[in-house]
């Protein structure tokens, strides 16, 4: 596998995403509405709790966490399940299968360009705004570098989750329900909609070892220096957990896909 192919795919992906710049603004606007809702919801939760600190997090901590989680969600979001089911129905998938590289690689690098665009156009602006508004609540140091690494690992884990769900959809031949289930599970268990600190103890412990957490909670914890990520050992254990899931899911996803693709029959034609 040479970088030339990968760079070419990323480049085309960037150009294609830039064609839909209006979509980026709509996303930003939708986020704004969502965040207003989140703001008032959590304001009510904190008001009714009677204390300033709930589960070790202040209102500001929670808001920063959730705003960045939303931005991260827009950046990491993939539509492989939808795209694949559509290209199976139209039969277009055969053209992707006939590219001189593995389908998984081709898919991953076809998406990478849009990730670059959404990182620059949605994540960075959100991050800058949070930074300015909170006046130094986010520490500017090595944590930014660790965050970047954790985000790339999160991207790979998320890609594998998407691919595995998409492969399941090959068998069920229906997509909608399974995709909704996946989205709900990922959003809930990853900490993207409720910070993991708010989970009941037992559930929280289980969730900490699941791959979903490695997608949103781990990069955010590292960025905000929470969950012990301000110590070397804490950092290492977070990265270790991510790495294990990257390896496990990549192997599982590849095997599952390779097994399934031999059985797949492309409709029509």
């Amino acid at each position: 596998m040479t970088p030339r192919k990968l760079i070419a795919l990323t480049r085309a992906g960037i150009m294609e995403s830039l064609q839909f710049r209006l979509g980026t603004f709509v996303t930003l606007f939708a986020n704004l509405i969502y965040l207003v809702l989140v703001y008032y919801l959590w304001k009510a939760i904190y008001a009714s709790s009677g204390t300033d600190v709930v589960n070790g997090m202040t209102f500001n901590d929670t808001m920063i966490y959730l705003i960045l989680a939303t931005a991260l969600f827009n950046f990491l979001e993939m539509f492989i399940v939808w795209d694949m089911s559509r290209s199976i129905q139209s039969g277009k998938i055969i053209l992707d299968l006939l590219k001189p590289m593995t389908f998984r690689k081709y898919t991953f690098w076809s998406y990478s360009g849009s990730h670059v665009v959404s990182f620059v156009l949605t994540f960075i602006p959100t991050f800058v705004v949070v930074m300015i508004v909170t006046k130094g609540a986010i520490h500017m140091g090595l944590n930014l570098l660790w965050f970047a690494i954790a985000t790339v690992l999160a991207l790979i884990i998320n890609f594998n989750i998407e691919m595995i769900v998409a492969t399941i959809c090959l068998y069920t031949e229906s997509t909608w329900g399974i995709n909704i289930v996946k989205e709900t599970i990922v959003l809930l268990l990853s900490g993207a909609s409720i910070p993991l600190a708010f989970f009941p103890d037992k559930l929280g412990t289980v969730v900490r070892y699941l791959p979903f957490r490695a997608v949103y909670d781990t990069p955010l914890s590292i960025l905000l220096e929470k969950n012990g990520s301000d110590t070397i050992s804490g950092l290492l254990s977070l990265f270790g957990m991510q790495l294990i899931w990257v390896v496990v899911l990549t192997i599982a996803g590849t095997l599952f896909w390779n097994h399934s693709v031999r059985k797949i029959t492309v409709n029509g034609g």
């Binding site: 760079i7 085309a12 150009m15 593995t102």
Partner: protein, 313 residues
């Protein structure tokens, strides 16, 4: 390996299909059903295609054409039999096989929808690792065959169907593959675009000595492009020979039209190997005066239609 681009020996493909039941009750039963039946899509097909050949691969809908093509491209694994494409087994050496083939499926596009055509070309150049020189030479060849300038910088989604098909064909040939599979490349196109696309395919085949497997329902494509025709029906090969030979498949049929004294045309289908045309004319002349005579060759389309309708048996 000699001169063969594709070799298939005794190739078979079976599909397992769930026996579906009728009605709501049946649908629920199907959820747990293990009741499969085997459908053989391709049965004992032998086929050898030489390098640089352009063959028309024909058959009625559902005859097993797509299944065979999918096996040649490596997407499907045959149930039994041998298959070699450019000397490799496609479903095992999938990546290597993909580097040496190009595909066009009439109604699906491999181009990047929202980008100008040139960007798709650049992307394909990099994915197939084509050197800059070969790429430029290929573009030069394209320019000599068709007028690509107006479409080169046009986003694919703004193209007409004809322009898009043309672009897809150019994209399939871009990495100079040994074999190109064209599946109904002229479907839905107007007469002049069809002619343009046929001459482009002929030109590329001639210049690059590319083997072309053409699947189509348009006999105009076949007449214009293919010397050899392979017909498959119900999964079996039923014809494999020259296009000229095809016309005498049912005997040398021709239609004789006679315009008689009362201004009516009388048509007779004549098998020249059995009946003498002059005799028919003489006989008719004795009854009524003949004003005009026409002798019409049977068209490829009619022969194919007869074969599909099973008159051969």
């Amino acid at each position: 390996m000699g001169n063969e681009a594709i070799v298939m020996k005794d190739l078979c493909k079976d599909f397992k299909v769930l026996n579906r039941h009728e009605g709501l009750k049946g649908s629920i039963r199907d959820l747990f059903s293990r009741d499969y039946k085997t459908v053989s899509a391709v049965r004992n097909v032998d086929l050898t295609v030489n390098k640089g050949e352009m063959i028309g691969y024909l058959g009625p809908n559902g005859a097993g054409k797509s299944t065979t093509i999918k096996m040649m491209t490596g997407v499907l694994e045959p149930t039994s039999g041998e298959i070699l494409v450019n000397g490799v087994v496609p479903y095992i050496n999938r990546k290597k096989n993909c580097e040496n083939i190009g595909v066009v499926f009439g109604q699906r596009s491999q181009l990047w929808w929202s980008l100008p055509l040139i960007e798709s070309f650049k992307l394909l150049r990099d994915i197939y690792m084509v050197s800059e020189k070969d790429y430029q030479d290929m573009l030069e060849l394209y320019r000599s065959l068709v007028d690509i300038e107006p479409i080169l910088h046009k986003p694919v989604r703004q193209m007409s169907l004809g322009q898009r098909t043309l672009s897809d064909i150019l994209a399939a040939f871009l990495h100079n593959p040994d074999i190109v599979f064209l599946d109904e490349p002229t479907i839905g196109l107007d007469v002049s675009m069809k002619a343009k696309i046929r001459s482009l395919i002929a030109g590329l085949n001639e210049q690059k000595n590319t083997t072309v497997i053409l699947t189509t329902h348009d006999m105009g494509d076949v007449d214009a492009l293919c010397k050899r025709i392979v017909i498959i029906d119900k999964g079996q090969k039923i014809y494999d020979n020259d296009i000229e030979h095809l016309k005498s498949y049912f005997g040398s049929y021709r239609t004789l039209r006679l315009k008689l004294d009362d201004d009516t045309w009388e048509e007779t289908l004549i098998d020249e190997s059995k009946t003498d045309i002059m005799e028919v004319i003489n006989r008719a002349d004795r009854q009524k005066k003949i004003r005009d005579i026409e002798l019409i060759e049977i068209s490829t389309e009619e022969v194919i239609k007869k074969i599909y309708e099973g008159e051969a048996s």
